[in-house]
Symmetry: C2
Subunit: 149 residues, 2 copies
C-alpha cells in the first residue's frame, strides 16, 4: 500500500480558518474547485467536487473534529480513487496552522498516482494562499503541472 | 516502506533540456539550490547540494541514461534521507517531457517526509519553470511552504 503525504504551514493564529476551508462549500470552492456542492460540516455528510469537463470526486465525510481533523472517503470518481481516504490533521505551531495530509489506500503506485501527488501539493498551496491572502487558485484556474493538467 | 512520488510535464520538444537540468551543476543550481557542486553527468559521480544555513545533501550518481533516467543515492544529509534513492525517469509525450519522480526507501512516514513530499513537488515546478522560461526558483529564493521553509 502506498500513500500520498504532504505537509504545509498556513500562517494564521488558530486552525479555525483552515478548518472552515475544509468543511464549508465556500471554503472548498476557494481552493480546490469552484464547482463544489454538498455538506462537509459533519460526519455522514456528502460532498461533490467537479472539474469540468473531466469529471470529479464524490466524498463521504467520515469524521470532523473542529480545528483538529477532517476525514473523507471517496465513494465515486476515478476507479483508482474509489475507496481511498483523504485525511486532514491540523495542529497549531506558533504562527502556523500545520496541515498534515494523507491520501491513503491506493492499490498501486500508478503514473496517475504520481500526478495526483504533485497536484495535491499544488492545491495545498492554494489552500494556504486562500487562508493567508483571501485568494486561492481553485479549478478551473488551478496551476497546470503537465499535459494531464 | 513508503515513497514520495510526483509527475510533472515540461513543455519542451525533447527530454534533452530536462536531462541537462538534472545532470549539470548549472542546471541543478537553476532549480534546486544555487549552492550545488560536484559532477552529476556519469555514474560514480558525486553531487553536493547545500541550503544555508540548514545543511544539505550529498548524492552519489548511480545511473545516468541520456534523456531517459537519472538515479541518485543519498550518502550524507538528514538521517531520514541517508540510504534513500532519488529516481528520475523521463519520456516524451507529444509537446511534453514527462518526469516521473520517486524518492524511495524512507523507513517511516514521519512528519518530515510529509514536508519533503510537498517541497519536492514545489521544486519540480521550479525545474519545469527553468526549462520552459529559463528561470527557476532554487534555494534561497525557493517557495516557502511552511514554518519549516
Amino acid at each position: 500500500m502506498v500513500d500520498i503525504l504532504h505537509r504545509v504551514g498556513v500562517k494564521t493564529p488558530t486552525p479555525e480558518k483552515v478548518y472552515e476551508a475544509l468543511t464549508t462549500v465556500e471554503g472548498l470552492a476557494g481552493w480546490w474547485t469552484v464547482d463544489t456542492k454538498g455538506d462537509g460540516g459533519e460526519a455522514g455528510g456528502a460532498l461533490q467536487f467537479r472539474f469540468p469537463p473531466v469529471g470529479g470526486f464524490d466524498m463521504e465525510v467520515v469524521e470532523t473534529r473542529p480545528g483538529e481533523r477532517v476525514l473523507w472517503r471517496v465513494v465515486d470518481g476515478p476507479e483508482e480513487w474509489v475507496g481511498t481516504t483523504v485525511d486532514w490533521e491540523l495542529h497549531q505551531s506558533g504562527e502556523y496552522t500545520i496541515v498534515l495530509f494523507k491520501h491513503q489506500g491506493w492499490r498501486e503506485p500508478v503514473e496517475f498516482m504520481h500526478h495526483c501527488s504533485t497536484k495535491w501539493g499544488s492545491f495545498l498551496m492554494s489552500l494556504k494562499s486562500l487562508v493567508e491572502t483571501g485568494e486561492g487558485t481553485p479549478a478551473p484556474r488551478d496551476v497546470q503541472i503537465s499535459d494531464w493538467h
